[in-house]
Amino acid sequence: MKNYIRLLAATLTLSIASVTWAEVAVIVHPSAGFDSLSEEDVARLFLGKSKSFPAGAQAVPINQTEGAAARDKFNEAICKKNASQYKAYWSQLVFTGKGTPPKDAGDDAAVKTLVAANPNMIGYIDSSAVDASVKVVYKIP
């Protein structure tokens, strides 16, 4: 029982730590012809204000699933919107035929797999999940 409680406490501490400290990395395909993007570049892509990378290639942004910690952090830091504001923003565009929100692609692993396989995609994952299959172009501390 004591062990169980200790384990629980440790898990709790860890999860709190991960929410507060987890760095989120914005990732693209390794073959992308650029090594970094500005915060504004990333925001414009995920808010539908721009449809291509600054270098000119078509960009397809993908989101993590609603409720994912990385998604909430990304929306707050980059799009400056909480989950509800983000939803309201896109509902202004969806019901006009003027825009389609980034597709919800799943968790860190799913987003990484998609981006690693598609030179046009841009996504974001927890920094701890980054490996050589993708290139980091922006970091949210």
């Binding site: 204000k49 078509q58 609603e66 919107k81 989950a83 202004q92 969806v94 019901f95 006009t96 035929g97």
Partner: protein
């Protein structure tokens, strides 16, 4: 017979586009489905005073409900079909095609659409029925009062980045046939626009957007059955004028192929913590009894976590038309001039409305809203409307 035609036209268009869409449903399966709903109700403070916002009872009624479904699918490369179907409690949940259009992505940033489109009259026109997208239960009624929100035609829409600014531009051409209940008696009168065209543009950066729009059309509204003293109806009055050599004044009374214009300017601000919006509109239909409408609102709000509190001041300051113009003033003509002026004055709205409301984001995609409208109408008296709505997108 006329009525039948209007209805048939609406359904055939919706059906045609729906049929277009049936193809990709069975083939590609790349179909986007989104929906929105609003369930709400309200009550007034004094049922002996004017009705406002669709409410006229002191008992709470849950009768402001709306369900909308939007389906879009790829028909061919760069061509998509979109249908938005709505069912409203005020129309006994009869399903109507709000929009039904084909869209061709001409370039990366511009598209051409054809079919039934939302007319870009206002800042919130595009998502008028999607309450979740804005702060109020519905946008200020003093400004959002035009009866035709859609147009059958074609449009061109493009976005561009000019220096540090984001801009959009939309131009359209078309017309619309509708029916309006002018007497409030459930009997519908025909109305239509032809050669309707307009431009709308926006300029924005990060947290602010400026908007301006201008529209013009040839307008017909069958006002002949509107009741009036002595002559029975406006149609009877117009006939009497014409048979007494006052054909010009009869024309200035009726809304029959009259040139109408509508102009709008707006500002929208959303910093995350603070929201604000303002719009001003002017409508004019030359040579008709319709007043020159001059209306506007200013709104400001603050977000506290999942709550948004907002305050809006709206105003209508219409100017009466002058159907009596050109009649020589004489003792014999005084009653006619008086009758014409009375008709013109009856069209004028002079009203101030203060709206205070809250929006609570219950979950992502669902908002609960409360609103109080304090109405001060110069001609019809005062009223308070209390309303509530649960609005969602999915």
């Amino acid at each position: 017979m006329k009525k039948m035609n209007f209805l048939r036209k609406k359904h055939s268009l919706a059906l045609a586009i729906a049929l277009c869409m049936a193809v990709p449903v069975t083939q590609a399966g790349d179909l986007n489905l989104s929906g929105f709903l609003s369930v709400g109700g309200g009550m007034v403070d004094d049922e002996n005073s004017l009705s406002y916002g669709g409410y006229d009872e002191e008992d709470f009624t849950f009768d402001d409900n709306l369900l909308g479904i939007q389906i879009s699918g790829t028909v061919a490369e760069k061509v998509t079909a979109t249908v938005q179907l709505t069912a409203r409690s005020e129309n006994d949940y009869q399903v109507e095609a709000e929009w039904a259009y084909l869209s061709w992505q001409a370039t990366e940033n511009s598209k051409v659409r054809a079919g039934r489109l939302r007319t870009p009259f206002y800042m919130y026109s595009d998502f008028l029925d999607v309450g979740y997208a804005y702060a109020w239960i519905s946008p200020p009624r003093e400004v959002y009062y035009l009866p035709f929100n859609n147009v059958d035609g074609v449009d061109f829409y493009t976005t561009a980045t000019l220096g540090i600014f984001d801009t959009s531009f939309q131009a359209y051409f078309g017309g619309f046939d509708d029916e309006l209940d002018l007497n409030g008696d459930g009997i519908m009168e025909g109305a239509k626009t032809r050669n309707q065209m307009g431009l709308a543009g926006t300029l924005g950066k990060d947290w602010w957007t400026l908007r301006a729009a201008y529209h013009q059309a040839d307008l017909w509204v069958d006002v002949t059955s509107v009741a009036m003293p002595v002559f029975g109806t406006l149609g009877g009055f117009a006939d009497a004028l014409a048979s007494n050599g006052l054909q010009d004044n009869a024309n200035k009374l009726l809304v029959d192929d009259d040139s109408a214009t509508f102009a709008e300017v707006g500002l929208n601000i959303d910093t995350g913590r603070f929201v604000a919006a303002a719009e001003y509109v002017e409508f004019e239909a030359e040579d008709s009894l319709l007043s020159k409408n001059k209306r506007g609102y200013v709104m400001g709000g603050v977000r506290f976590g999942d709550w948004l509190v907002h305050l809006t001041a709206s105003q209508s300051r219409d100017e009466e038309s002058h159907p009596e113009e050109g009649i020589p003033v004489a003792p014999q003509t005084a009653p006619i001039i008086g009758a014409l002026q009375a008709v013109a004055v009856s069209q004028v709205v002079e009203r101030d409305v203060i709206t205070i409301g809250t929006r609570w984001d219950v979950t992502t995609g669902t908002a609960l809203k409360f609103q109080i409208d304090d109405v001060d109408d110069k001609n019809q008296g005062d009223q308070k409307v209390f309303s509530v709505a649960l609005q969602a997108v999915f």
